[in-house]
C-alpha cells in the first residue's frame, strides 16, 4: 500500500480506519463514511474492498468474523497507532494554520 510508505493516509484510508475503531462490516463503512463527513467523503466499493484487503495484508486491521460473504473487521494495535499518527499530523497542520493565519499563540 504505497501511501503508508509516505507516512500519510488519504482521506478515504483515514475514514475507513476511523470506522474500524469499532468492529464493523464493509457495508457499514460504506454508509458510515458519508455520514461522518456529512457527504464530503464517499468511498467507492472497489476502493473499499481493495483498501480492506491491503489493510489486512499490512496488519492494520484484522478479520473478526466471516459469515459467508459478510466479513467484519476491527483495528489492530498497529492500525490504532497509524490512525493516531495521522491524527497527530493533521492536528499539527491545523495548529500551524491557527498560529500563522489566525494569530493564535503556540500551546
Amino acid at each position: 500500500m504505497p501511501r503508508l510508505k509516505y507516512k500519510t493516509l488519504t482521506e478515504q484510508m483515514f475514514y475507513i480506519l476511523l470506522c474500524l475503531t469499532e468492529e464493523r462490516r464493509g457495508m457499514e463503512i460504506l454508509k458510515l463514511v458519508p455520514e461522518i463527513t456529512e457527504g464530503r467523503v464517499s468511498v467507492g466499493s472497489a476502493t473499499l474492498y481493495n483498501l480492506l484487503e491491503s489493510f489486512l495484508e499490512e496488519g492494520l486491521i484484522r478479520e473478526t468474523r466471516a459469515e459467508g460473504r459478510w466479513r467484519s473487521y476491527i483495528l489492530t494495535k498497529a492500525g490504532e497507532d497509524r490512525l493516531g499518527e495521522e491524527y497527530q499530523r493533521i492536528s499539527a497542520q491545523a495548529q500551524d494554520y491557527r498560529i500563522y493565519v489566525k494569530g493564535e499563540k503556540r500551546e
Binding site: M1, P2, R3, T10, Q12, M13, G26, M27, L30, K31, S42, V43, G44, S45, A46, T47, L48, Y49, N50, L51, E53, S54, A66, G68, R69, W70, R71
Partner: protein, 470 residues
Amino acid sequence: MKTKKAELMVRSFWDHSGLEQHLEEMAAQGWMLDRIGSLMHYRRMEPAKLRFCITYCANASVYDPGPTPQEQELQEYSAFAGWTLAASSGQMQVYYTDQEDAIPLETDPLMEVENIHKTAKKTVFVQDLIFLLLGLFWLGIKGWECITDPAESLSDPTTLGTLAIYCVLIVICLADLGAYLRWRGKALQAATQGEFLPTTDMFPLQAWTLAAVTLCLVLYAATILTSGNGSSFIAFLLGAVIYLGTLFLVLQVRNALKRGGASRRMNAAVSIGVTAVCAIVFTGLAVGAILHIGTPGRAGYRWGREENLESYEFHTQIRYAYQDAIPLRVEDLLGDLHYDGYVTERDSQGTFLVSREEMMQYPRLDDPAGNEVPSLEYTVVSVHFPLLTDACQEDMLEDLRHNADVFGFMVLDTDPAPWGADAVWERINQDGTSWNQYLIRWGNKLVRLELDWTPDEAQKAMIAEKLSGR
C-alpha cells in the same frame, strides 16, 4: 432480429478505460455485455445510456468454480452503491449502472493503479513474458537458420512465416508492456495529485496486430498451396487444428470442471494436464500423419502427386515412378539413350525472397538395366532480392565444400566462359580428376549440378541454355 452477438476481445487486459467506453457505446446501440473472455458475448436490450466500470479482483481466478466470498463481498458493496455486475472473467469484473450520480467504484486513484498492477503481475505480465520468451526462442532458431542456410531457409515459407508471426508476437508483447509501464508511470504521478488517468487505448495496435498475424497466415497458406507442396500444406492445416483443437478442449474441460464445482487448484491442475496431453497426443498424431504422407518410410510418395503413378517396391519401401517435367534432361545432353525407365522428380518451394527447385533424373531403382544409364541432379536457387545472392552463394559453396577433408577433394574456381556464367566452382580430387559436381552462378541464379559424367563444351552450353534463364 439478432438477439445475441459476439466479438473478439481485442483489448489489453489493463485497458479498462477503452473497454468501458466501448461497452457504453454498445449499450447505447442496444447490446448488453453477457459474458467476457477471449470473446465478448452480448445480448439484445433496449438502447440505454449506461455507465460501465471495470475493476480487478486480484485474488480471483479463471479456475474458480464460482464467485469467491471476496468477489461476492465486492458485488454486495457495489450493489449498495448502485452498480450491477454485467460479467466477469478471472480477475476482471465488469459493472454497470444507469444512475448518473452513482458513486464510482474507484474513488482512490493510487489504489486503482496499485490494484491494476497487482493483478497485472499475476496475469498480463506472465502471459506477455511467456509469449516474449517463446517468440525470442523461435526467432533465434529460425533467424540462425536463415543466416547459416539462406539458400534453403529463405525459400521455405514455413521458416519465413514462423519468423514473421513471432516478430509480430514480440512486437505486440513489447508494445503492450511498454505502453502499460508508461501509463503506470504517468498514472502514479497523476494519482499523487488525486487525479485518475485514463488507460492508453491499445485497440488500434491490437487490431493491427491481429490483422498482421491473419495476413501472415493467409499468405503462408497461399504460398505453400500454390507451391504444390502438399505435405507442407497438410502440416499447416494440422498445426492449425492442433492449436484450435487444444484450445477448444481445454476451455471445455475448464468450464465443465467449473460447472461441476471443482476447486481452483484441481481445475488448474487438470486444465494444464489436458493441455500437455493434447499437445503431446495431437503433435504425435500430426508427426505420424506427416511421416506417412511425407515420407522417410515411404520414399518418393508426395501428397497430391501420387495419382495415376506407377509404384514399385524397393528394399521394402514403396517407390513411385514420378514423371515430373524438368527443364534439363539427360537426353538434352547425351541424345536419345533408348531407355524408358527414367524417373524424373521436381520439388519446388519459394518465397518472395528466394525460390528453390530440386530436380533429378534417375533410372528406376528396381531396374537392373538402370546401372548402365547416367543420372542427373540439380538444384536451382533463384534469388529475388539481389542483396541476398552473395549469402546464398556462400551457403551453396559451403555445401559444395562439405566433407572436403574427409574425402580429400578441393573446390576450385573454373573457367565460367563455356557455361556462359559469371562464376563456376567445381569439386576436384587432389589428382586433378573431377567429381562432376558444380556450382554455377548466372546473375541472381545459382545452380548446384551433379552429373555422372564430365560435360564437354557443347554440353556446358546446353546446360547454360536450359538453366541460366538468359
